[in-house]
């Protein structure tokens, strides 16, 4: 990764911005994950209770319907069920638990009284009433279990996603960004060192050149004096 990064100051600033954002995101996601887990534990307790009630209600309803089928006959039980006029209805809304949209199921016309079940009272028995009542209770439990367990599953999916995001930030993205940051910083420092060295070298070279130039100049000056002296000495004897 680091090899693909351009070691520029601009890139470093961008990476620093990303690190800051990722660290903030990591903290927030960690808090969200912990909150979701706490909410999930509450829902889990509720779901366990609801499951227990559902199993009890199912067993009770089966016992009642079995008794009704045995004592009244299948035909009578089927007939009483056929007379039902108002079938149960459910409506679903949604509520938000820490950003997770979970269903809220509202049921109506599930529990009925004797006059609402559709069958005539004079020709039926308490066994049919008790079986109907037990199944109404069971249906209520199923609806509640559907609501709680769907919420639980959605929370679980969200916890998993959040956990993956936290881990991705913690173990992948942030380490890479830190690595890139280090890489660029090192590169930049190296470049700085090279620059200083280069400048030093240039300066040295320049100084050397200047020195040489000065030397050369000095050398040139001393040679001229000697010639002049020689020229002066030669003219005098000729004047004799």
């Amino acid at each position: 990764m680091a090899k693909d990064v351009k070691p520029t100051r601009k890139e470093l600033m961008q990476i620093e911005d990303r690190i800051e954002l990722s660290e903030r995101g990591h903290g927030t996601l960690e808090k969200k994950r912990d909150g979701l887990i706490m909410e999930f534990m509450d829902i889990l307790d509720k779901a366990q209770d609801v499951r227990g009630d559902l199993a009890d209600d199912y067993e009770a309803a089966q016992t009642k319907i079995n008794m009704a089928r045995a004592m009244e006959g299948d035909v009578a039980v089927r007939g009483a069920a056929a007379a039902l006029q108002e079938h149960p209805e459910i409506t679903t809304e949604s509520k938000n638990i820490m950003g997770v949209v979970v269903p809220q199921i509202e049921s109506s016309r599930v529990s009925k009284d004797l006059g609402q079940r559709g069958y005539g009272i004079m020709g039926t028995s308490a066994r049919i009433d008790e079986a109907a009542e037990a199944y109404e209770d069971l249906l209520e439990s199923i609806i509640l279990a559907a609501e709680v367990e769907t919420a639980m599953k959605k929370m679980l999916t969200e916890i998993e996603t959040t956990k993956r995001r936290v881990n991705a930030l913690e173990f992948k993205l942030l380490p890479e960004l830190y690595e890139n940051q280090d890489y660029i910083e090192q590169k930049l420092e190296e470049q700085e060192r090279e620059e200083i060295f280069r400048l030093k070298k240039i300066k040295e070279k320049k100084e050397q050149e200047e020195k040489e130039a000065r030397q050369a100049e000095a050398d040139t000056g001393s040679t001229g004096e000697v010639d002049a002296e020689q020229a002066t000495a030669g003219g005098v004897p000729g004047g004799d």
Binding site: N66, A70, D74, A82, Q85, L114, G123, A126
Partner: protein, 350 residues
């Protein structure tokens, strides 16, 4: 209704042999230990051979048993009406009309739920007074209004016709079903008067018990359910346990209602144990069970006190009904996994 002279002796003589074919306690003890297919085999080897063989290709398991029991019951009760003439016919028919009520209710429920007429026909028990051709015509019609039209001339026509408006308003079958049941119960005693001695007195006492127990069951169910229903609507005339205003008053006070039944001189002792359980537990089932046992006891007394009257025929009708219910209970009980003890507890055997 037959207009010839009454012939209770003849009917009784025919019934006696049928009574001997009923399953004994020993048979029940064997049946309780059997699975559904063994029960079907046992039935085939005894009284129910024809029905099991006829229905064996269409049904299996407990359905075969239940439908065979219903067919056999219908055959026997149809024979009773065939043999009876005059007053004895009338006395038998007024009780067997409960099967007409069952059939009309089943047909109405079938039409209400768009069930094919073949399926509805399977659930019928043709043991009532309505002739087969009327029942077949009822199966052919497509609306509840047409069912009422077909029943014109029977005792069910007027109550159904009156209840139909209420049905149209509410869309619920309750008014029609209640009208049918009320027509049946209120015609049970009809013009019988209140004889104080002889076989007729016992017969009337039995029918009164049937009405009283039905009123008691309904009152207890209404009291327990807390439904916003007028108890007077479900009151059946003819019994001695409640009058209309008494019933309306007692439905709002469950304990007073139970006390009222317990204090009754005619039924208090018979239902004592069941009422005690009713006070302790929330379930009405034990009470209904006790009521069924009390009715069977009545019927047994009917046969022994006046053996050549209609009372003995009645005793047979109840015993046969009980046999059908017991075998069905055993078979269904075994099918759904009830233990032998649980099934035994539910059986009503004298």
């Amino acid at each position: 209704m037959s207009s010839s002279a009454s012939n209770p002796e003849y009917v009784n003589a025919r019934v006696r042999s049928r009574r001997n074919a009923l399953f004994s306690d020993e048979d029940y003890r064997k049946l309780i230990r059997m699975g559904p297919s063994e029960i079907a085999r046992f039935m085939e080897e005894h009284e129910y051979e024809e029905e099991i063989n006829r229905l064996g290709a269409r049904f299996s398991g407990v359905d075969l048993i239940e439908y065979s029991l219903n067919r056999n019951l219908a055959k026997h009760f149809d024979d009773l009406l065939e043999w009876a003439d005059g007053r004895v016919y009338d006395q038998i028919a007024r009780y067997l009309r409960k099967f007409d009520v069952w059939n009309v209710k089943t047909i109405i429920r079938g039409i209400y739920t768009d069930t094919p007429s073949e399926e509805i026909g399977t659930d019928l028990i043709r043991a009532g007074e309505l002739p087969d051709r009327t029942v077949d015509r009822l199966l052919e019609v497509e609306t509840i209004e047409d069912v009422i039209e077909v029943l014109e001339g029977t005792l069910f026509y007027e109550p159904l016709d009156s209840a139909y408006e209420h049905y149209e308003e509410t869309g619920a079958l309750v008014p029609l079903e209640n009208a049918l049941d009320r027509a049946f119960y209120e015609n049970l005693l009809g013009d019988l008067g209140r004889p104080t001695e002889g076989p007729e007195a016992m017969y009337v006492e039995f029918l009164q018990a049937e009405i009283d127990f039905r009123n008691a069951r309904n009152a207890l169910r209404l009291a327990r359910s807390g439904a916003d229903l007028d108890p007077a609507e479900f009151y059946i005339e003819g019994g001695v346990l409640f009058d209309r205003s008494e019933l309306s008053r007692l439905v709002s006070d469950y304990d007073a209602l139970v006390d009222h039944i317990a204090d009754d001189p005619r039924y208090g002792d018979r239902l004592d144990a069941a009422l005690a359980r009713l006070r302790e537990a929330d379930s009405l089932i034990a009470f209904e069970h006790a009521v069924d046992a009390a009715l069977l006891e009545y019927s047994d007394r009917l046969s022994s006190v006046y053996p050549v009257s209609v009372s003995a025929v009645f005793s047979y009708i109840l015993a046969k009904e009980r046999e059908v219910e017991n075998i069905r209970a055993i078979a269904r009980g075994r099918e759904v996994g009830l233990s032998e003890e649980e099934i035994e507890e539910e059986l009503v055997i004298l």
